[in-house]
């Protein structure tokens, strides 16, 4: 088998067979290791007889397996036991440990008891609802929805609720608008830019919610709330578009042969 005409392979550098980075080399290639048959041919006497018998015996087993209804399948995957289990245990203990450490270092504080009679100067939800609270403070842009009579068409609170509906609606629609097989931001600069816009918008809305803490005027803050995300989106788009030209070329060449973009 290891004569000069047969090229030695390392299991994945054959350019003909290669599709998306080569087949996974899970086992050493068969043509490099002598089988029992080949070793049998190299030996003589009792050793040869032993090999012959074992060959037959193995074949007998294989035939029996072929006759049986039991289905053998090749499974290529990360073993659940022990690899995955130990990895998950390690991750779990690490994160639980971090949580307990943080809880010990920064214990929860406690405020005044509820008093319906006095509104505090600053009302705030937890940090994860700042963006939502910011959406409720959009009343300065409500007059732009004014009808001719001079009344605002919808109440400020309802405007905030509509804004929530729009946010959740847009997020829900994403998988129905963006199809195809692209999986990286560089493959789709537009959608990455949309994502970055959304992330920055959530931060600027949070800043709007805690505007009391910002020493800048409300007008400027409102402008920044909507301009910064757009600017961030444009920059992201430009950067990714530039990166794609050079960085993605090699990968695309093989990858799109396999899965053409829709």
């Amino acid at each position: 088998m290891t004569d000069d005409t047969t090229p030695m392979t390392d299991g994945g550098t054959d350019e003909e067979a290669r599709t998306d980075g080569g087949p996974p080399a899970t086992v050493p290639p068969d043509d490099e290791t002598p089988t029992w048959t080949e070793r049998k041919e190299q030996s003589s006497g009792l050793a040869q007889l032993t090999y012959q018998y074992f060959e037959r015996s193995r074949r007998e087993d294989e035939d029996l397996r072929a006759e049986s209804t039991y289905v053998e399948r090749d499974v290529l995957g990360f073993p659940a036991w022990p690899h995955e289990t130990i990895r998950n245990l390690a991750i779990t203990s690490f994160f639980v440990g971090i949580m307990i450490l943080v809880a010990a270092l920064m214990p929860a504080h406690f405020g005044e008891p509820a008093n319906p009679g006095s509104t505090p100067a600053i009302i705030l939800p937890d940090w994860y609802l700042y963006w939502s609270f910011g959406l409720l403070k959009l009343n300065p842009i409500n007059p732009s929805l004014e009808v001719l009579g001079g009344n605002i068409a919808i109440s400020n609170e309802f405007l905030g609720i509509i804004a929530h509906g729009i946010v959740f609606g847009v997020i829900t629609l994403v998988p129905f608008l963006n199809k195809g097989s692209a999986r990286r931001p560089v493959e789709q600069p537009f959608w990455a830019a949309v994502g970055v816009t959304g992330v920055i918008l959530s931060f600027t809305l949070a800043a709007l919610a805690i505007q009391n803490f910002f020493p800048i005027s409300l007008d400027l803050l409102l402008t920044l709330t909507f301009m910064l995300p757009v600017a961030g989106g444009i920059i992201t788009y430009a950067v990714l578009k530039t990166m794609r030209e050079g960085y993605m070329y090699d990968l695309n060449r093989r990858y799109y042969m396999l899965r053409p973009p829709k």
Partner: protein, 269 residues
Amino acid sequence: MSLKKQDEMDHNAWLKEQDLTVIETAFLTTLIWLDKRLRIVDYLELLETMYYRANLQMPKSHTEQYDLDNKFWYWYPLYSLGSLSIIAYLVAAVSGALLGFYYAPSTAGAAAQGDPTAAYDSLVMIMTDVQFGYMLRSIHRWAAQFMVAAVFLHMLRVYFTGSYKEPREVNWILGIVLIGLTLLFGFSGYVLPWKQLSFWAAQIGVEMALATPIVGEWAAQLLFGGFTLGQATLVRMYILHVFVLPFVVTGLIALHVGIVWVQGIAEPH
């Protein structure tokens, strides 16, 4: 010669046609006798396995397979965020169950406006009198913060790696529902201590509900037990936080993970 099909595995017939010497016959007979009983052939496979182990080649890692190793560590540190959410959820569930032994969802006991209520007092009791109570409340609160943070970051990872794409739309929508429920979980928990910030956060919730046309008043009564805050609000939030949401969220998380299991993980490349 007979027309009968030969039994290929007739070891005795095979031995006869070999024309062996006495030594060979004795050896093979012994070998076959032993192999029938001890399955020596199986140990050959073990030997074979050991041979491959000694010449071990690891499977190609994902980054190697897609030729990414020279580019970037490519997203992998972000891959445990989904399980981090679940871990934080479990920690919050355990610590919350323990807190539930001491908490009283009641606004009773406030003689004048601004006096501590029974709910507030029970939290003061947990933090000052109960052994490990301060730590328990801190762990519960921080587990909630970790869960919300992990859920947000998990959503960003799924968005930027395009993992929500075509066969996985249902799981994306389920994820959005889960984010909403996580926020509601956090909000209802925020109200329970019945401190100033809790009360006024709930007040904003009521006002938002009342501003919604058609369903607003119904929603305010369902969620907050009326249009003004009081005992009914606290009980609604308590039942939501410790009875309704745990079952709903646990079920939806199981469904969410189950769909990932069925569809397989959307790997980046």
